[in-house]
Symmetry: C2
Subunit: 200 residues, 2 copies
């Protein structure tokens, strides 16, 4: 049922709904919460949004977000140039940085090959990837695209492109730690079996 709200409130509720998994009820809660309890926080959020959209661009080296030419990871001289990890999105970099102690380089594709959507090697910046691998004399490229049909195709394409210059590896797919065998899907089980390793 349409109800007459003050326009500024209605617009704020509408604007919150652009966020992922925020529906009308959550948007309303967020708007009223800020108005009632945290007007300073709202100013801060507004300012941060402005700043982030104005300042953040793609790192010239890995395409992740950066405020200057290079992102904090690419400009960190202490990181190894031995290996480079290719991922589909910036959130994958965050997950890897928070979860494992990989200290090499990254390259962010922002998606996967998807001819039907007009996403080819150019859109994924694969020429930049090749250049980066050559310039830094990377020895191993770890392809960590998602284990979907498109992710696998993208991994294959990258392998074909780089195979002459470097070792190209694919992250392992299998049963997640703490997972239970009988709850895992057939495709994953297949990967887990074919990817088995001799115990020593």
């Amino acid at each position: 049922m349409a109800m007459k709200l003050p326009p500024a409130l209605q617009q704020l509720i509408d604007a919150f709904q652009i966020l992922p998994s925020v529906g009308p009820k959550s948007a309303q809660r967020m708007a009223l919460y800020l108005l009632e309890k945290d007007r300073l926080g709202a100013e801060r959020l507004s300012h941060s949004l402005q700043q982030a959209m104005n300042k953040l661009d793609h790192c010239k080296s890995c395409r992740n977000y950066a405020e200057s030419d290079l992102c904090p990871i690419c400009s960190d001289a202490e990181r190894s140039t031995e290996s480079l990890c290719v991922v589909e999105s910036p959130s994958d970099v965050l997950a890897l940085e928070q979860g494992v102690d990989f200290k090499g380089q990254y390259f962010v594709l922002y998606g996967h090959l998807s001819p039907i959507d007009g996403i080819g090697p150019a859109e994924l910046g694969l020429a930049d990837l090749k250049r980066k691998v050559e310039q830094l004399s990377i020895r191993e490229v770890i392809v960590a695209t998602n284990p979907t049909v498109e992710g696998e195709a993208t991994a294959q394409f990258i392998m074909d492109m780089l195979l002459e210059d470097v070792v190209v590896s694919r992250i392992a797919h299998g049963i997640p730690m703490g997972g239970e065998l009988d709850l895992v899907d057939g495709g994953t089980l297949n990967h887990a079996l074919t990817g088995r390793r001799v115990m020593s």
Copy 2:
């Protein structure tokens, strides 16, 4: 694990966490989503936040949010002045407006009596409530504060204050529609029993 993000991105992720039920993971997802997929939406959200915080103040009559002296409901000449519904928060007004066809007036307390937190009749604007009831010659005041100890105490206080001038009623408490008797708590069951009505 602390990781070095571009400051503008880190600040945006932090700022999103002021929102109710948004933790670090959701905040990160929101920030990256806006950067990747909806920069225009981010500008719009930033602008809407600014506008809402600048423009919205309390309605002089019902204390709900308004852009001018009176909110859309109080300035609607077609609404009845027969009855007035007292609620704890603006979201209660939204719920009532969306769910029922009450066409009377409202008054928003922004909380309930809570001496321990320094919230007394003055903080809830009860003098304004009394004045509004007199000025509009309201006949019935429906107290729809929450069925908590504080909400009940507040309802009692309002009744004592207004009883000389108008009929004061309390919304019914009982089994929710579609609810099941054996899943309802004892307090609600008690209310449902004492509030029983003769069927006709």
